[in-house]
């Protein structure tokens, strides 16, 4: 019993499985502390949060919709869904990644500072990415861009040499395709 694993009274970790990324939509009562419950569950049980968005979506019923992108082994993803469903203020949890075709979007506001040719180039690229100018000064722009995360990543990367100052992103929101709701 000299080897390391048997000097603890806990079993060793088992073989690492494939890590997957899933997008979950969670319908919750919009009451104080509900976000803390969800986040506390993730941190307390060692789950990952890659992206998290939350806002009230049905005012009269006081329901909020949380979209959380998480990664883990299939068993962990299953656990996350079950653990979320166990929270009292949680009404429904839908795994968008396996529920069927769905759309994921993100919004970013990108501030770029520059003059002359850099400024013109930023404007041309923004046009190509269908980003809108929502604020301008003689030496800066703020662009609003919406789309899949990869599109925003590429746009932001292109802005770096042109004078990127800062980025503010919403994180991912998701919705299923077709006529049915979650």
């Amino acid at each position: 019993m000299a080897n390391g694993s048997s000097t603890s009274h806990y079993p060793a970790a088992t073989i690492i499985q494939q890590i997957e990324t899933h997008t979950l939509s969670v319908l919750v009562d919009n009451e104080p502390g509900v976000l803390a419950r969800v986040i506390g569950l993730f941190s307390g049980r060692g789950y990952n949060i890659d992206s998290l968005t939350v806002s009230e979506t049905e005012h009269e019923k006081h329901l909020s919709r949380i979209t959380v992108v998480t990664s883990g082994t299939p068993m962990v993803i299953e656990q996350i869904k079950n653990q979320l469903e166990r929270l009292v203020p949680v009404h429904r949890v839908v795994d968008m990644t396996i529920a069927g075709p769905h759309i994921e979007r993100e919004l970013a506001m990108v501030k770029v500072r520059g003059k002359g040719e850099h400024r013109m180039e930023a404007l041309r690229l923004a046009d190509a990415f269908r980003a809108r100018v929502i604020d301008a000064s003689t030496e800066s722009f703020v662009f609003e861009i919406t789309g899949a995360s990869e599109k925003i990543e590429s746009f932001v990367a292109l802005m770096i040499p042109l004078g990127l100052v800062e980025v503010s992103r919403t994180g991912i929101v998701a919705i299923g395709r077709g006529p049915e709701g979650m």
Partner: protein
């Protein structure tokens, strides 16, 4: 009919409406209005503990021995933080509790006021649900909702944090009828198709095994009754976790004893070698599974649990059934009876022969002594001398707890109160206070270790105040025995800080509490001393001085599989076991 009353009065009114007879608590500044409301009524009896942790454990003992919700009232700040261990314990072991905490007035919340703490923040991960009630209008609903959540589904502790100004405020109180929560609706009935699939597997299994847990006990007496019926009908062997002891009678030949880290040889080998595992109300905890990748490699697994999050958490199962144990067992019994194709009786004979060979090794054997009391012997004698009485057993945590689980034999559910999931030293004494209060004429014994019991010893004072004749049976080996055992087996016998050099004189300590102290040091005196303890109608501290070096076997060392158990040197060898079996067969 609604009545106007203060928030403090609402608390008492709601408790009374919920049928609460006993409230364990400790007063303080932020709950004084509720204590004032308690003063003016007779419906709810308050039990004054000596520490808030004791209040929560007492409520746990009360809840687990009755099936009712245990209730606690503590003040803000340290009152609430002292309750945290008990809350976590209740969450791990699925014990229904409603814990009411006082809070500083709403306008001071967040101001670092005197005795303020973020109670809902601190207790969020250690409760099933919690509330901060900032508005008197919400209080009646929240109080009743708290009871509903605590006792339904997988039971657990619920905290209701009430600021002092809300306790003083006046509002309308009425008792809600037909409570329905808008989002929270635990599922009781299991999916019938899956239950049918499970029955199908059960009919064709060659080496089946029931593995049951605390969920059966939590589901109520009907679940235990149905379990017994199903086990008898099927002739399958049955084992149980620490938490599930008593759901199936240990005197029955189909009972294999407890499984897991300190479970019997036959139970663990049956788990390893079975071809069908029917898990009912247990959760594949790491004390049960040992090494996961070698856990019962050749079996199909059926898992019945009311908590979907317990399914496929540690072990992937073939047929998950989400539902209440009693409901699912009822369907199982009905379907088994209805099925035409009952398995031929003979088909299980080979499996039972194998199990009898394992059983013949007598894995709980130990070498007894005439000179010194062996801890196993002490518990065996305690069992023999109390088994015909109306007895309830609580324990602390450690070696004595495992020996109690191995050697005290339970026939009924709700008779065994132990801290399983969290492993809280100091649980047993206050738990026995709660049990005795719920069962004033029963014999309530805390099988304790001398180290554990010192953690909550102050509750002896509570027992004496309320004339609760609890028996604290201390297996005194002067060590934190389980720590010492691990240090011996895994850390080269370096006994770092596991020996208590300055123990109190427990007999004098009992005397100081106005209780009765008994010491026993010799095996020959044990029976007489235990009888004396039983006969005393007062709280007793029994100092049973035992062999300090005894280890708890069998034992599955960590990182090992079920079939790699360490056995005591008193265990019968495989060869002899087979010979003995041969004799039996002849």
């Amino acid at each position: 009919m609604s009545k106007d009353m203060t928030g403090a009065e609402m608390v008492i009114e709601a408790l009374a409406d919920q049928g609460v007879e006993h409230l364990f608590g400790y007063p303080g500044g932020a709950v004084l209005p509720i204590y004032d409301a308690l003063f003016h009524q007779k419906k709810v009896q308050h039990i004054l503990v000596r520490h808030e942790q004791g209040a929560v454990h007492a409520a746990e003992g009360y809840a687990r021995s009755t099936g009712k919700v245990g209730c606690v009232l503590v003040t803000s700040g340290p009152g609430a933080t002292n309750a945290v261990t008990g809350l976590t314990d209740a969450l791990c072991d699925s014990v229904p509790l409603v814990v009411i905490t006082g809070q500083v007035p709403t306008h001071l919340i967040g101001n670092d006021a005197f005795q303020e703490c973020d109670t809902v923040g601190i207790t969020r991960p250690c409760t099933k649900h919690n509330y901060l009630v900032k508005n008197i209008a919400d209080l009646p609903r929240v109080l009743h909702e708290a009871f509903h959540i605590a006792k339904s589904g997988r039971p657990g502790p619920v905290v209701v944090d009430i600021p002092k100004d809300v306790q003083f405020a006046t509002g309308a109180y009425s008792r809600p009828k037909d409570f329905q929560h808008k989002g929270y609706r635990p599922r009781l009935k299991g999916d019938l198709d899956r239950i049918k699939a499970a029955i199908e597997l059960m009919q064709h299994a060659k080496r089946p095994l029931f593995y049951t847990g605390g969920g059966v006990v939590n589901s109520g007496p009907e679940a235990s009754h149905l379990l017994r019926e199903l086990v008898k009908l099927t002739r399958f062997p049955i084992t149980s976790t620490l938490m599930g002891l008593g759901a199936y009678p240990s005197s029955d030949p189909q009972w294999l004893g407890m499984l897991g880290m300190h479970g019997t040889y036959e139970a663990n080998l049956a788990m390893h070698d079975c071809d069908l595992m029917i898990c009912i109300g247990a959760r594949f905890d790491d004390r049960i599974t040992g090494r996961l990748d070698a856990f019962s490699p050749d079996s199909k697994k059926v898992h019945v649990d009311i908590d979907p999050a317990s399914i496929n958490k540690n072990v992937k199962v073939d047929i998950p059934i989400v539902g209440d144990c009693a409901h699912v067992l009822e369907d199982m019994v009905r379907l088994w009876r209805a099925s035409a194709a009952q398995p031929a009786k003979r088909s299980l004979d080979a499996w039972w022969q194998q199990i009898e060979k394992w059983r013949a090794r007598k894995s709980l054997s130990y070498r007894n002594s005439n000179e010194i009391i062996k801890p196993q012997y002490a518990i065996q004698r305690l069992y023999e001398l109390t088994k015909d009485r109306d007895a309830y057993i609580t324990t602390e945590v450690g070696q004595h707890q495992m020996w109690a689980a191995q050697f005290y034999r339970f026939e009924e559910p709700n008779r065994w109160m132990t801290s399983g999931g969290l492993g809280t030293m100091g649980y047993g004494l206050p738990a026995s206070v709660g049990v005795q209060l719920a069962h004033p004429n029963s014999l309530v014994i805390d099988i304790a270790g001398e180290a554990s019991v010192l953690m909550t010893m102050q509750e002896m004072s509570t027992a004496v105040q309320y004339e609760l004749p609890i028996k604290i049976f201390i297996i005194n080996n002067q060590y934190m025995g389980m720590v010492r055992q691990w240090q011996e087996l895994l850390h080269g016998g370096r006994y770092a800080h596991s020996y208590t050099e300055a123990l109190p004189d427990f007999v004098k300590l009992a005397d100081a509490y106005h209780a009765v102290g008994i010491r026993c040091e010799r095996p020959g005196d044990l029976d007489g001393a235990i009888r004396e303890m039983i006969d005393v109608k007062k709280p007793v501290i029994f100092d049973c001085v035992v062999d300090p070096n005894e280890n708890c076997f069998p034992m599955i060392p960590s990182g090992r599989a079920h079939n790699e158990m360490l056995l005591s040197d008193a265990t019968i060898s495989i060869e002899d076991a087979i010979t003995e079996e041969g004799k039996v067969m002849v």
